[in-house]
């Protein structure tokens, strides 16, 4: 099953490689990984999307907790949470497609953030399936380039991940 694991980790050189090295060394699956400093610049917040049986996810969380630099680990998908991913997609926008691309962007509540005579860059945020759906709605021949950030997530309500 798909899990979203959130990690608070000391913002030190090599922190990312400790986490990614752990995943490869123990043959854990990693679908996406995002990381950036938090409002407290001594801390990094990492969101990892992984999948596996309950036993595997339990091991992932235990092994992450074992890393000396890791302060806290939670499985966001255990309860109500919000997940978001940002995608930038550059599309060919000429002739009748120009109008169509604008329409697709509107339908998915995306924004066009760059315009040339022949291209648009559409910015879109949402959960993974929304981004997938948007891509599926565009004729693949018109997609010139896509870039996605991977998922970041946060618990709903009183669930707070903090030191």
């Amino acid at each position: 099953m798909r899990h979203i694991i959130s990690i608070l980790i000391e913002n030190e050189a090599g922190a990312l490689s400790r986490v990614s090295g752990l995943f490869s060394a123990r043959a854990f699956n990693i679908e996406s990984l995002t990381v950036a400093a938090t409002e407290d610049s001594s801390l990094s917040r990492m969101t990892i999307v992984s999948s596996g049986s309950d036993g595997v996810i339990e091991q992932i969380i235990k092994q992450l907790n074992k890393l000396i630099d890791v302060i806290k680990v939670v499985d966001l998908s255990e309860s109500a949470h919000i997940e978001r991913e940002l995608m930038l997609v550059k599309v060919r926008a000429t002739g009748k497609d120009r109008e169509e691309m604008k329409r697709v962007a509107d339908i998915f509540r995306g924004r066009i953030v760059d315009v040339t005579e022949s291209t648009y860059v559409i910015e879109l945020t949402g959960n993974c399936s929304k981004l997938d759906a948007c891509l599926a709605a565009i004729n693949p021949d018109l997609v010139l380039e896509t870039v996605r950030t991977g998922v970041c997530g946060i618990g709903r309500g009183d669930r707070i991940l903090k030191v």
């Binding site: 060394a25 091991q59 235990k62 000396i68 302060i71 030191v163």
Partner: protein
């Protein structure tokens, strides 16, 4: 007063009451070595290869429960040390490795003797640091010693660029350290301990399975007391030998791939199993599906939560420091009016004794060829079971584990997890430094010993009276055994040709060499080595039966009750 980084390193080691640093100098650590030269609070042991420095520091720790320290230079100094570090990591041994690094402005420039030390060692250390500022040096070293020894122990590496050892700053060694990201659980959850006790009291066929954690946490007294109060059978893993007295009646021997028949059968057929500082390793339980095919309740006590439910599902997990957990169990047991079901226990012991009667370790010593098992048995007799025994890796390691009965912890020193050939001799050195009066024997084979043979020189320099018991069968014995059993007798590259004359080799380093070829000479030769040559390093080259195999054996992927016994062949 301001100190240089190199002075700070030396002061920190003094503050940590380090007795010995095992190392090898080189360009990046020259300033540190210069400071070593100027002090005499701790001694430096110059090895002949960095791998041996780490092994010696590792064994120093294993045999004393102090932290082992080694010092190596950048680049090849570190890469040579990696096997030693990985060995210590797999067996959770607290050591601190200080490595030199090229000056900070050169990092990443492919400088001479540069390597990404933090990157290379990351997967085989508990933690590592690169110190880029001399102001962080003292705190980092303090953290390294703290992390190495607390929680589940392990090696910690501190990489220090050369310019950092030259820069100056004020020195103050922190008295204590606290890290928001590192607070290992020590105190067990009381409810879980109560649950465990209830399971133990209700058991009909109980079994205690104790591993290296008992040794590492110095919990053997608590384990022995608890096991005796309960009257339950005890087995030790390879890493746990000595954690429970081997000559005690309740001890059923080592379990696992080469464990005794009774230990493996009891492990498979028990109804309540308590695992203490052990991790259900593949060499211990064999096939986990086969192991799990029998219904039994499992209590698992360990300092490391990630060891629990990793390979085997457990019913009562308890995370904590073993002496605390076992002490708590004992206290609750003593308060309780309940005792285990004596009738059921008597039936269970009767069953175990039937298994024991198979005498799965028996072998025949004839008149012509020396059996390796016989050498170990005689060694046990002659040393009165009091020696510190190190081993290398292979058949001789298993025979040492099977036939030398360890009654005390920290006497049996071997590479269990990584299975590193070549540890035996440097291990013996480390043991002797930690225990300057101890009798130290290194049981090895002609292949393993050659992997760190250069340390004969270090042993000479420091006049270490180690006794090397070389079980020389002219084969990579364990490889040959597997080839015989599973690869149609095709002995691919397992014959050791062009062996040196070990007697002359030992003598060339100034040691005593002996060659023993006949069974009748085994005992007198051992006596001579351990009495006449008590204070000498003696290399005893025993020419042994080339066809001897280690039994019992569980083939890889098989279950605990699927042992191959010697008599069945």
């Amino acid at each position: 007063m301001q100190l240089t980084g190199a002075e700070i390193v030396v002061r920190c080691l003094q503050e940590e009451k380090v007795e010995y640093v095992f190392g090898y100098p080189g360009g990046s650590v020259l300033y540190i070595y210069d400071e070593l030269f100027k002090q005499d609070k701790f001694k430096h042991v110059l090895v002949r290869h960095e791998q041996a420095a780490v092994h010696a520091a590792d064994a120093y720790s294993r045999s004393s429960n102090k932290i082992g320290v080694c010092l190596v230079t950048s680049g090849p100094g570190v890469t040579n040390a990696v096997t030693g570090i990985a060995t210590a990591y797999m067996d959770s041994i607290p050591i601190v490795i200080i490595s030199g690094q090229v000056p900070t402005p050169y990092i990443g420039q492919d400088a001479f003797q540069e390597c990404d030390t933090v990157g290379i060692t990351r997967p085989c250390v508990k933690h590592n640091f690169l110190v880029k500022d001399v102001k962080e040096l003292a705190t980092t070293l303090k953290k390294a010693f703290y992390i190495a020894k607390t929680g589940r122990p392990g090696p910690v590496l501190v990489d220090i660029p050369k310019d950092v050892t030259m820069h100056k700053c004020d020195f103050e060694y922190p008295k204590s350290i606290s890290m928001r990201s590192y607070n290992p659980v020590v105190k067990p959850h009381e409810g879980q301990v109560r649950k465990a006790l209830q399971l133990l009291l209700g058991a009909k066929r109980p079994m205690i399975y104790a591993g290296g954690g008992v040794i590492l946490s110095d919990a053997s007294n608590q384990l022995t007391k608890l096991a005796r109060t309960l009257g339950f059978p005890v087995t030790n893993t390879l890493m746990g030998l000595g954690g429970y007295p081997a000559t005690d009646d309740q001890f059923v021997g080592m379990l696992g791939m080469h464990g005794t028949y009774e230990a493996n059968m009891a492990m498979q057929h028990c109804d309540v199993l308590v695992a203490i500082g052990a991790r259900f390793d593949d060499r211990v339980i064999g096939n986990p599906e086969h192991f799990g095919s029998v219904l039994r309740k499992i209590i698992h006590i360990d300092i490391d939560p990630s060891s629990i439910s990793k390979r085997v599902d457990v019913d009562v997990p308890i995370v904590g420091h073993l002496p605390d957990v076992l002490g708590k169990l004992q206290a609750l047991l003593e308060q309780s009016a309940e005792r285990p079901d004596a009738k059921a226990l008597a039936v269970w012991w009767k069953q175990i004794n039937t298994w024991r009667a198979r005498n799965s370790l028996k072998y025949k010593q004839g008149k012509e060829l020396i059996m390796p098992q016989y050498v170990v048995e005689k060694l046990y007799e002659i040393t009165g079971g009091e020696a510190f025994v190190t081993s290398d890796v292979g058949q001789h390691q298993m025979w040492a584990a099977q036939y030398y009965k360890f009654d005390k912890p920290r006497r049996w020193i071997n590479s269990g997890g990584l299975g590193t050939m070549g540890v035996g001799l440097p291990y013996a050195m480390g043991v002797r430094f930690a225990n300057p009066k101890a009798t130290v024997a290194c049981i090895t084979g002609e292949a393993s010993i050659q992997m760190n043979i250069q340390e004969l020189s270090t042993a000479r320099q420091f006049r270490l009276p180690i006794k090397v018991i070389n079980l020389n069968n002219r084969y990579l014995g364990m490889v040959r055994q597997w080839q015989e059993m599973f690869h149609g007798n095709r002995y691919s590259e397992s014959y050791v040709d062009a062996l040196p004359d070990f007697v002359k080799l030992a003598e060339s380093y100034g040691h005593v060499g002996m060659r023993i070829e006949r069974p009748a000479d085994v005992e007198p030769a051992l006596r001579e080595a351990f009495t006449t040559h008590k204070n000498d390093f003696v290399f005893m080259d025993f020419l042994t039966d080339q066809t001897a195999n280690v039994y019992p054996m569980i083939a890889a992927g098989k279950g605990l009750s699927e042992m191959i016994l010697a008599e069945e062949l």
